[in-house]
Amino acid sequence: MTLEEAPVSLHDAPGRRLTMIEAINEALDIMLARDPDVVILGEDVGYFGGVFRATAGLQKKYGKMRVFDTPISEGGIIGVAVGMGAYGLRPVPEIQFADYIYPGLDQLVSEAARLRYRSAAEFIAPMTVRSPFGGGIFGGQTHSQSPEAMFTHVAGLKTVVPSTPHDAKGLLIAAIEDNDPVIFFEPKRIYNGPFDGYYDRPVKPWAEHPDSVVPEGYYATPLGKARVVREGDAVTVLAYGTMVHVAGAVCAEKGVDAELIDLRTLVPLDLDTVQKSVEKTGKCLIVHEATRTSGFGAELSALVQERCFWHLEAPIERVTGFDTPYPHSLEWAYFPGPVRIGEALDRLLGH
């Protein structure tokens, strides 16, 4: 199927704006249309279209053999996806919440990640595991986790986190086309609108955000390339997912001339872009929502320190979630919000 035959997309206006959920839905739609090997499976993804509506309308359009509900067994979902990949399909399993990925972890870590290696490329697992992650929706400790660091530790897995509708579509298409297993974490807090961390201010829609302009049809945003959201000289800020917006808002609010880098892919990491920036600014702030200890911020900090040691003018700062489960009522005390980020910036810039 060629690009021209791709189905009509959800919105047709030029410069049309999508929410992240719509962008993800569109990416799936396009890939289902382009590649008959793409199949979507997961809990409630079929008739209902997913608890966040990411797969809405797709079963109706592509049929039950392409988009289907599964038993509630994350191990089974990943396990059969490995087998489908070995057959030659390109499965896109959804894990309903990242918090529920652990029953499928063995199939990811011991199987999907090592299939190509152990079989000397006789068999591969070209799957993209989509899963909503992160907090900020009063989901309590089992609907808020950010387990990305675990996956970055596993050789053979790629880990991707989009932060805008534009990238969500392009990165998801690239992930599906990738022949390696990709863990695609979707920051659920910004599915339907960006979030600057000020939970007590009115909610903004994606339509007001420049990166909600999503081109129609097929495009791929390459994995392994970071995006410099804003150039600056005072400090390099590394973030991904929701925290790109929060960190950006704090820098703007404080008038800090930060170079804000949206990593987009954690593995393989675009270390060149990071290194160049820190060599320029001499300072580095890393922001993520996951628990601090052994979070991906640790790896970033270690890498920056290794590569840019002689350029560093102040200790690299990590701003992260706390090393506790994600609490329910104190969600905003847990969340690495503007105050925590602001303090770290102050320390870095010597205010």
């Binding site: 089974g76 009522s329 104190l330």
Partner: protein
């Protein structure tokens, strides 16, 4: 690819569901070999017949006072659910889950078990807590995550924990409670303790690996545990066929493991009581585990986040061939001459009032997101028994942030 019989807009006709006559199911002795129960895995144990009589060998012969208590607990559960659901809609909390239509599967087992038996519920057995007399105010405090919440605002609403009432902490992760119940019961048995464990899981969740490990361990060590599979036909938007219901009953899983299995009309509180009692007695006499499938219907949405109208026919509830558990027990009591419509109406009003009062009481301690929560430092407690240095530092950070944001704030 499995497909439910009805989708939104479809007219519902449940005649394909086989409903055997009440009283027709044999009742083997509690100490029988598992194989004697296998026919019951493909049958449906029923006690209350269409005329509201309790019939057959499974009739637990409960006295009217006990029956009235059962009715009351089911009605209280429903009244509670209704008010909490409204509370969520009014923004008093983030989330709620009803058990409408399934009250019998929690209330009747809670009465059939000893209070000292440890229950490992899923998230839809509020009826157990209510039946065991846990204070409604404490339940609501938890739902509101307020400063009186015994769980310190840490858990999603309805994820209760009540050690005082032998009610295990509810997990948001499906089916994890099953091997835990087995382990608890193994420990109890190893101590010569007469307490058994009982656990609940939705039919959808039986697909998880933990279901299998729990059954395997229970079978291998002949563990005194009762597995309650609540087959309410739906798992969010997925009908039971996605858990394998079209190939075998959930009770039939027991056959595969060689343990006792029963399939019971989950909307018949007396049948549920009798089955649970049978299994509890069996476990207590060291005859090992039983798997009970409660065949029931989830009358409402999955949770406050769900819209069942998007995936199933609205007629399913009214057409459900096994009726409503509260109505059926009420009719039975009326048929016995032990109850009346007036009494029912008075009770409903009384219970609604009791729930309202408890709600008001709880609201004094705050509702979600309105500042009346547990102190900040509690967020860092209980991660470990003692606070390690890194959590100590993080607690200080959290409190400092609070001060920066609200300079006038004191804790």
């Amino acid at each position: 690819m499995p497909e439910p019989h009805y989708r939104p807009g479809d007219a519902v006709d449940f005649r394909h569901i086989v409903v055997p006559p009440a009283g027709a199911q044999p009742r083997p002795d509690e100490t029988c070999p598992p194989a004697e129960t296998f026919a019951l895995c493909n049958d449906l144990i029923r006690v209350l017949d269409e005329a509201g009589r309790a019939v057959g060998p499974w009739n637990p012969q409960l006295d009217p006072a006990t029956l009235r208590r059962m009715l009351r607990m089911m009605a209280l559960t429903r009244a509670f659910d209704e008010r909490m659901y409204r509370g969520q809609r009014q923004g008093k909390t983030s989330f709620y889950m009803k058990s409408a239509g399934e009250e019998a599967t929690a209330v009747a087992p809670a009465m059939a078990l000893d209070f000292e038996d440890m229950v490992f519920p899923s998230y839809r057995q509020q009826g157990i807590l209510i039946t065991r007399g846990y204070p409604l105010v404490d339940m609501i405090n938890q739902i509101y995550s307020n400063r009186a919440d015994r769980l310190k605002g840490r858990q999603l609403p309805i994820m209760y924990s009540a050690r005082s009432h032998n009610f295990f902490t509810i997990s948001g992760n499906l089916a994890t409670q099953l091997p835990q119940a087995v382990g608890w019961a193994m420990a109890s048995a190893s101590r010569g303790d007469t307490r058994i464990a009982a656990t609940w899981v939705g039919e959808g969740s039986t697909s998880e690996g933990d279901f299998h490990s729990a059954m395997t361990f229970a079978a291998v060590y002949n563990v005194p545990v009762v597995f309650n599979v609540v087959n309410n036909q739906w798992a969010i938007s997925s009908f039971s066929g996605f858990a394998g219901a079209e190939r075998a009953t959930f009770a039939a899983r027991a056959i595969g493991y060689g343990i006792a299995g029963l399939r019971v009309d989950g909307n018949d509180p007396l049948a549920v009581y009798a089955a649970e009692r049978w299994a509890a007695d069996r476990a207590r006499s060291n005859m090992g585990p039983t798997l009970i499938e409660h065949f029931t219907y989830r009358a409402e949405g999955h949770s406050t986040s769900d819209d069942p109208g998007a995936y199933r026919s609205a007629q399913e509830r009214s057409e459900w061939p096994l009726g409503d558990p509260i109505a059926r027990l009420r009719d039975h009591l009326i048929a016995l001459g032990e109850w009346s419509d007036d009494q029912q109406a008075a009770m409903d009003q009384e219970l609604a009032e009791a729930v309202r009062a408890a709600t008001k009481e709880a609201e004094k301690n705050g509702i979600l997101g309105h500042g009346l929560h547990h102190p900040f430092k509690t967020m860092f407690e209980d991660v470990f028994e003692e606070l390690p240095w890194h959590l100590q530092e993080q607690a200080e950070q959290a409190i400092r942030e609070r001060r920066i944001k609200w300079p006038e704030w004191k804790e």
